[in-house]
């Protein structure tokens, strides 16, 4: 470029800058002398206008923006502007482009100096800024003219943060009570014809009641929200309310209604997904997962497996585009599927999916420790249950010990959140391992601690925790019996049986076999530890009465029957005749829910 050409270009530049307004001047150059000459020209031509130099190299977004903020209406010369196109400056590039209007409103003049080979990137990488360009200059000198060169290496100073996420839903009782009171007041004071507002408020109220373990009030409000959702004819709201009801019914162990609600939500979501898959697939996956749990609880194992498998498939598809959101859900469903496989004795499958769940949880915990470490504990605990079931007790003890260690630490740091049934579950299962490996003292300690936790929890939510109390008492009874603490054992069995009998009256399908289990243990107690034929045989009878209706379909039931027969034989009676007599007097088996099994 000749001197004349250069001067003429500078004149145009001067004209463009005479009025105080935003200007984006793109300057292609290959010699720092050009830069210095232009800077000097501006100082001479507009001495009253401040001038600033900002370099991208060695500075992060924040410091660059702070410098620009301070620049106001100055001439801002950026000699290494093209560093913004470096691969490790992608975020800087995007944000700079985004701030276009911010720069424009501040009447600053950006003089962007770039190496010739980088100028081409501007329209593509900074399209919004590009659309506000004022002038482009090419002050390019031939290589022989260049006497100086500057290496421009920008290092990124943006470090990736280790994000730790905590649970969003605080368990602080007082705070929840306050929030509840406030929401109830808002509901009262709002326009009753504002169905939308009432819907949101009743849904929140229901959620809080659920967190406060007041499931009846939770249900009442969930039902109200469903009525409102139907009035609004809003399908999404209807699905949400049905789902919420499903959760509440599950909490209450009302499996019939829970399954019905989930199925209704699922049906609506499937229909809507036909025209809008993206919107409703996540909901379908979630509902299937929860439905699977209820099917499993009611021994509908084939349906449970189908539900989990479909949920998993959906979530795996969704995670391909958004793994951050869906990996935790996949881990949860794998855990549930693993537990199902344990129940139906498909142990190889159980081991495979549970290890997969554990692997995912560990990966998640590496990126967000506090958010996902409890998932690791859950996966370990489930593996522990598997290893107990297949009698690999060393492995069981190993994984459960690790799980317990994690849960104890969580309980210490967040007592309100983690001193809970999860810790109790791990203790309970570890207790079983100790019991099976004749570590009676450890077993008693573990069961006792689990029981104490569960009794505490049952004070506010007996529906949810009475079954678990019965379970721990059942096992504790066995341990105490083996330790010859016979009075305590008798008490434990008696209480466990009493709870399970009550539950079986309302939910026979779910709890009859549990009654059989405890009655059988108690019967054995009166055979071997504290001999009493009358009591032992009465309990054996109870075991058979509870098991026989399910004998045909469930292997567990057949085991109980066999166990009870052994006890009867040990008392010197004809076991077959004993059973036959019971069969004759049996009422029809409960038919609330059909039972299916995969075997």
């Amino acid at each position: 470029m000749s001197e004349t050409e250069f001067s003429s270009q500078l004149k145009i530049l001067a004209k463009a800058l005479r009025h105080k307004a935003f200007r984006l001047i793109i300057i292609e150059y290959n010699n720092t002398a050009i830069y210095q000459e232009i800077a000097a020209f501006l100082r001479t031509t507009y001495p009253e206008r401040p001038q600033r130099e900002i370099r991208f190299i060695g500075n992060d977004y924040r410091s660059i923006m702070d410098s620009l903020n301070a620049a106001q209406e100055a001439f801002v010369l950026i000699p290494d502007f093209d560093r913004i196109f470096d691969a490790n400056n992608a975020a800087l590039c995007v944000s700079f482009n985004q701030r276009r209007d911010y720069f424009a409103n501040r009447n600053m003049v950006l003089l962007c100096f770039m190496a010739p080979e980088n100028v081409m990137h501007f329209p593509e990488k900074l399209p919004d800024l590009w659309s506000l360009r004022s002038l482009e200059f090419s002050f390019f000198q031939e290589p022989s003219q260049i006497s100086d060169s500057t290496a421009l290496d920008l290092e990124s100073t943006i470090d990736s943060a280790n994000i730790i996420v905590t649970s969003f839903n605080s368990d602080y009782q007082e705070e929840k009570e306050r929030e509840l009171a406030s929401l109830l007041s808002q509901l009262e004071q709002s326009d009753e014809k504002n169905f939308t507002l009432h819907y949101y408020l009743t849904k929140q109220i229901s959620n809080i009641y659920l967190k406060l373990n007041r499931s009846e009030k939770a249900l009442e409000n969930a039902e109200r929200s469903l009525v409102l959702a139907r009035q609004l004819q809003d399908s999404q709201h209807i699905i949400d309310s049905l789902f919420l009801e499903g959760i509440i019914y599950a909490e209450q162990n009302d499996f019939v209604h829970g399954i019905a609600r989930y199925n209704e939500a699922l049906s609506i979501a499937r229909e809507l997904a036909q025209s809008n898959q993206n919107a409703f697939l996540p909901q379908i996956a979630m509902t299937l997962n929860n439905l699977g749990m209820l099917y499993k609880d009611t021994h509908q194992f084939i349906k449970a497996e189908q539900a989990y498998t479909e949920a998993l498939s959906i979530k795996q598809t969704l995670s391909q585009t958004n793994s951050e959101t869906y990996l935790p859900f996949i881990s949860n469903t794998l855990n549930n599927l693993g537990n199902l496989y344990i129940d139906i004795h498909q142990f190889d499958k159980a081991e495979k999916v549970l290890y997969e769940a554990l692997s995912i949880s560990r990966t998640l915990a590496e990126t967000s420790f506090e958010a996902y470490i409890n998932n690791v504990a859950a996966a370990l605990t489930n593996l522990g249950i598997l290893f107990i079931t297949i009698y690999q007790l060393n492995k069981a003890e190993q994984v459960l010990t690790e799980a317990l260690s994690i849960r104890r630490e969580l309980a210490q740091t967040h007592p309100d959140r983690y001193l809970s049934n999860e810790l109790a579950i791990t203790l309970h299962n570890l207790g079983i391992v100790y019991s099976l490996t004749n570590q009676h003292s450890n077993a008693e300690q573990a069961f006792s601690e689990a029981l104490a936790i569960r009794r505490e929890l049952a004070k506010t939510n007996s529906d949810a925790y009475l079954p678990r109390i019965a379970s721990t008492l059942n096992n504790l009874g066995n341990v105490l019996k083996d330790s010859s603490k016979l009075n305590d054992a008798e008490q434990a069995f008696s209480e466990a049986l009493s709870i399970r009998r009550d539950l079986a009256k309302t939910y026979p399908n779910a709890y009859s076999l549990k009654v059989a289990q405890t009655a059988g243990n108690f019967s054995l107690f009166y055979l071997t530890s504290q001999p009493d034929s009358k009591r032992s045989l009465a309990l054996a009878r109870e075991t058979l009465e509870a098991s026989l209706p399910f004998e045909e379909k469930l292997s567990d039931a057949r085991e109980r029957v066999s166990f009870a027969k052994d006890i009867v034989r040990n008392w010197g009676l004809d076991a077959e005749a004993f059973v036959e007599e019971i069969r004759k007097n049996m009422t029809n088996p409960p038919t609330q829910i059909p039972i299916s099994e995969s075997e």
Partner: protein, 462 residues
């Protein structure tokens, strides 16, 4: 409402004053002397389409919205258009016209102006919307019942605690949230702003801090959305009670400038579930590259195309009404005596391609080239400006771009429809191709057509 730059925009009667008058960075609201109504010249785009999608009505010049019949409806509208088409001015028009007691409480959120952070995500936008809502509610002394304010306060307080637990684990500074009960929405605003300021990472510059805050909300978005929606509904109710408006309308401008194109696509595709959960009437500007995702977007929102003004029809004949309106556009800004002839003005209009911003750029350049002593812009100045702009645009094209343009030239001459492709999309974004009507009609930027590189690589090569 004018900002300080708009107040300096007065009709130029000397060459020196033209710079201010052709400021292409300032959107022009409807009450500004420079405002020109391009209605009926943007193909199928009509204001009434927007009103219909918002369920608003215009009757005898008055805009109304009936919340009773729209209880279960909230509108989510994406306004898509090329850069420089006048979207922001159009949105400013709606913000002005629809903001009334019988219509909407309009809250304008300029993402590019206010979200001073790298890598803006959708979560940031939602938090920002809430902040703006509270700010504006405070400004009109909206008398939200204490319980409502308290609930929000408590809720955010707990979230801040969650976030602080997160940040402590990282060793970062804590988010501030003072104790005590807020008595008014103003005090909620004060506390709430403390949170969003941290989201903007304005003080500590900590990206980790912003991410922590973001992640806490994101991971439990459903509850956040319920809280947000409840607050919206309660605010709506109070707006009606106080006779301020019928319902809230958010206008969110600048979405297309945030993030990378890939991230924006992810936002619309993956965040669509979150976007759907926010039940507030909202108009977004849509990144133009997402127009081809129209089918998917229509699952949760409506798209309306905001095209350039068509100044030539498909046969190449000038559209008389468009030229007339653009003459008015220039005439309101610059005295006609500053041009040597009406033909000079017409030339600028012709090479604007129907883009108001490009027209202003052409005049701006011509002004810089004009002889100050003559005191007018001549035909020669205009030609030179057009050549210069055309050649500088052409310089940024690659051989691959020219190959596409060659094919486009052939197709246009044969009257073939121009479909979508990634390459066409890139050229649209570079303002090499312009789109009209609903996108079915495309043309090469007329400035480019005049450049020597284009003539050599395309016109003469086909």
């Amino acid at each position: 409402m004018q900002n300080s730059n708009q107040s300096f925009m007065q009709k130029a009667d000397t060459l020196e004053k033209i710079d201010a008058a052709v400021n292409k960075f300032q959107p022009i609201p409807p009450n500004h002397p420079f405002y020109v109504n391009f209605e009926n010249l943007r193909g199928d785009f009509q204001e009434k389409s927007v009103l219909r999608l918002l369920n608003a009505r215009k009757s005898y010049g008055k805009y109304t919205f009936d919340y009773r019949i729209n209880q279960a409806n909230t509108s989510l509208l994406f306004l898509a258009g090329m850069r420089g088409s006048g979207k922001t001015s159009e949105l400013a028009k709606y913000a002005d016209r629809l903001h009334s007691a019988d219509c909407f409480f309009v809250i304008t959120c300029n993402i590019d102006e206010d979200l001073d952070m790298d890598n803006v995500q959708y979560m940031d936008i939602v938090i920002y919307q809430l902040e703006q809502l509270i700010k504006k509610a405070d400004a009109v002394n909206l008398d939200l019942e204490n319980g409502i304010v308290e609930t929000m306060y408590e809720w955010f307080g707990t979230r801040v605690e969650e976030i602080n637990t997160t940040l402590k684990a990282e060793g970062s500074a804590e988010v501030e949230f003072t104790t005590g009960r807020p008595g008014t929405i103003g005090s909620l605003l004060k506390h709430f702003l403390g949170l969003t300021a941290k989201v903007k990472a304005g003080l500590s510059g900590s990206k980790g801090q912003a991410n922590s805050i973001r992640t806490v909300f994101k991971n439990n978005f459903t509850e956040f959305a319920t809280k947000f929606n409840t607050f919206i509904e309660q605010t709506n109710e109070q707006l009606r009670k106080q006779g301020i408006a019928q319902e809230i309308l958010f206008i969110i401008d600048g979405l297309e400038k945030t993030m990378s194109a890939d991230t924006r696509r992810k936002i619309i595709m993956e965040e669509s579930n979150r976007i759907r959960q926010i039940k507030a009437n909202t108009i977004f500007t849509l990144p133009i590259e997402l127009m081809h995702e129209e089918q998917r977007i229509r699952n949760f929102g409506e798209i309306i195309t905001f095209p350039f003004i068509k100044i030539k029809d498909r046969k190449g004949f000038p559209v008389k009404e468009a030229y007339t309106i653009f003459q008015e556009f220039i005439g309101k800004r610059i005295a006609s005596e500053l041009f040597d002839s009406p033909e000079t003005i017409r030339l600028a209009i012709e090479y604007s391609g129907g883009s108001p911003r490009q027209l202003l750029r052409i005049i701006e350049q011509a002004n810089w080239l004009a002889d100050e002593e003559k005191g007018i812009i001549t035909r020669k100045d205009m030609d030179e400006a057009i050549n210069k702009l055309g050649n500088s645009t052409a310089r940024f094209l690659t051989p691959e771009d020219y190959a596409i343009l060659k094919q486009l030239h052939v197709d246009l001459q044969a009257g073939n429809p121009i479909g979508f492709s990634k390459e066409i999309q890139v050229l649209l974004e570079k303002e090499v191709i312009f789109e009209y009507n609903d996108g079915t009609y495309k043309r090469v930027n007329p400035l480019l057509e005049r450049s020597t590189l284009y003539i050599h690589n395309v016109t003469n090569a086909t």
